[in-house]
């Protein structure tokens, strides 16, 4: 008997929403395991094993095949470009990757023609976006509290995820351009999809039905 399909889930709110979707197709985390400190959580129906990891790491586990499938934001996928299948938009976790600047700050050109500095966690996505617009910028890779960068003079603009815009507004920033829309996707390891085709087809169909039902 092969082990259940192993599903990597991004810790935090997306994991809760992901688990709700799995609950709708009849798979909940085994309550005994949930209360333990186990790192791999089996579902009560024995169909899946859930693997909670940091959101940016989901594609790494799935691409290498140590997880058969996973849930990842399209922002993460666009940034890391993992070699995986992306069969389904799960419909939750919606947000936008956007360029933000201090209110009244110049965009898309600095006065005087200087080279804009842009702070972001999403260096690859930002690079592609600005290159596509023919804009020359200097990207600064930082890993948190990106909104601080313009306040402190580290950068002129930022590229970051925007859900409600509250955090931006609190820091005196406004969205000046949109890079992409993001939502949670089901991703699947290519080799696992081939070798366990029927299980994956059933998972995709079940989740598609659950997404449809919740829309």
């Amino acid at each position: 008997m092969r082990r259940p399909l192993r599903i990597a889930l991004p810790k935090g709110r997306m994991m809760d929403e992901g688990l709700l979707l799995f609950e709708r197709i009849g798979s909940i985390i085994d309550p005994v395991a949930r209360d333990s400190r186990r790192l791999i959580l089996p579902s009560a129906d024995g169909r899946f094993e859930f693997l909670p990891v940091k959101s940016g790491d989901v594609p790494v586990y799935v691409e290498a095949g140590v997880a058969d499938a996973g849930v990842a934001g399209s922002d993460v996928l666009d940034e890391r470009e993992p070699d995986v299948l992306r069969p389904l938009d799960l419909g939750f976790g919606g947000c936008a990757l956007a360029v933000a600047a201090p209110r009244d700050a110049p965009y898309p050109y600095l006065s005087g023609g200087g080279m804009p500095r842009v702070a972001t966690k999403y260096v690859e996505s930002a690079r592609r976006f600005f290159a596509g617009k023919g804009m020359q910028v200097e990207l600064i890779h930082i890993s948190g509290s990106v909104e601080l960068a313009p306040l402190l003079g580290l950068a002129h603009w930022i590229v970051d995820l925007v859900q409600t815009g509250r955090t931006l507004a609190d820091n005196g920033l406004v969205v000046v351009d949109q890079v992409s829309r993001s939502s949670a996707r089901l991703i699947v390891n290519r080799a696992s999809h081939k070798l366990r085709l029927e299980e994956h087809q059933r998972l995709i169909a079940d989740l598609a039905g659950a997404v449809e039902g919740s829309a």
Partner: protein, 325 residues
């Protein structure tokens, strides 16, 4: 005490110690025994050549080359692909040899890969090319080499996913380059919603739209070929199905049991013109072998001749072997 700098090798390169080497040599020995018995002669292309050998076909290899400038200022690249090098060799040095030509090889390929993904930049491959035969018998001969090698290595749990690029290509015909690229991405990701959306946005005819949306599901045993035939649009797609049916008929039952028809797969290197396949083994997270027909590749080097071949990831096979002597 070595300096810390000397204790490192560049990311993506590696030292192979005795046990690693033993397993790789075992795979290669088994391979060359088989290849020689099937009258495939070993060739060794150079470790580096002019970069255009690998860029001529316009595949993604061009972005993965490890290049440097030669003494005379010309760009050279480390061998990124045996098939391209052997196609060049066959179309030039071996142009007077009577077809069909059966060539085998084993050695390293070098490709530029992003850091941090755990991807090696140098890997061992082995494989074979059958040049000058266009028929399904040649396709089957190559598939049999793959099956024979895996059996000889006592890897029983493997699956060959076999498709034909001529089934997919007509579905993208007549589109703007960016539209075709968007659909190709959706096909590659098996994203049905994006396929349906793309077909609608680009005004695809109903038959093409139906085939596009079905592509991710066109995987299975022989019955899939029947389903695919009802979706085939045009003579190329029909020829693809006919070729796969001919191959199916030529395979013995214990060979056919390893084959899964997979019409929606477009991952092969861009130079494939007909059948293409990937081989998957339980326990390996990536394909361990790939191959296909590349009837137009030799013409790029000056000699028009059909060809079919495969390459196997020696390192992945060696990992699967464990420590058997």
């Amino acid at each position: 005490m070595p300096t810390t700098r000397l204790a490192q090798v560049p990311p993506g390169s590696q030292d192979l110690l005795a046990a690693d080497v033993r397993r790789r040599r075992r795979v290669q020995r088994v391979w060359f025994d088989l290849a020689e018995a099937a009258e495939y002669s070993e060739v060794i292309p150079p470790t580096f050549e002019y970069e255009e050998v690998f860029t001529r076909a316009g595949t993604k290899l061009a972005s993965e080359l490890i290049r440097f400038v030669d003494r005379d200022g010309r760009l050279v690249a480390l061998r990124a692909d045996f098939t391209s090098a052997i196609a060049r060799m066959a179309a030039t040095r071996l142009r007077d040899a009577a077809p069909p030509l059966r060539l085998s090889y084993a050695g390293k390929v070098y490709r530029q890969r992003p850091e941090g993904g755990g991807h090696p930049r140098e890997t061992f491959q082995l494989g074979a090319e059958l040049l000058g035969s266009a028929g399904p018998e040649a396709d089957v001969e190559v598939l049999r080499m793959v099956i024979a090698l895996l059996r000889a290595l006592e890897i029983g749990d493997f699956q060959i996913n076999l498709g034909d690029i001529r089934f997919v290509r007509p579905l993208l015909a007549g589109l703007q380059p960016d539209e075709a690229e968007a659909l190709r991405t959706a096909i590659d990701r098996k994203d049905r919603a994006a396929l349906a959306e793309g077909a609608r946005r680009y005004g695809a005819p109903a038959a093409v739209a139906r085939a596009l949306v079905e592509l991710p599901e066109l995987i299975g045993r022989g019955e899939v070929l029947l389903r695919a035939r009802s979706l085939a649009s045009g003579s190329d797609a029909e020829a693809a199905i006919e070729r796969l049916r001919a191959i199916d008929a030529l395979l013995a039952p214990d060979e056919r049991s390893h084959v899964v028809y997979d019409l929606g797969e477009i991952r092969g290197l861009g130079y494939y013109t007909g059948i293409q396949f990937e081989v998957f083994v339980g326990g390996a997270g990536r394909a361990v072998a790939f191959g296909g027909r590349y009837d137009d590749l030799l013409a790029l080097y000056g000699m028009d001749r059909p060809a079919v071949g495969f390459a196997m990831e020696t390192d992945a096979l060696a990992e699967l072997l464990g420590d058997a002597p």
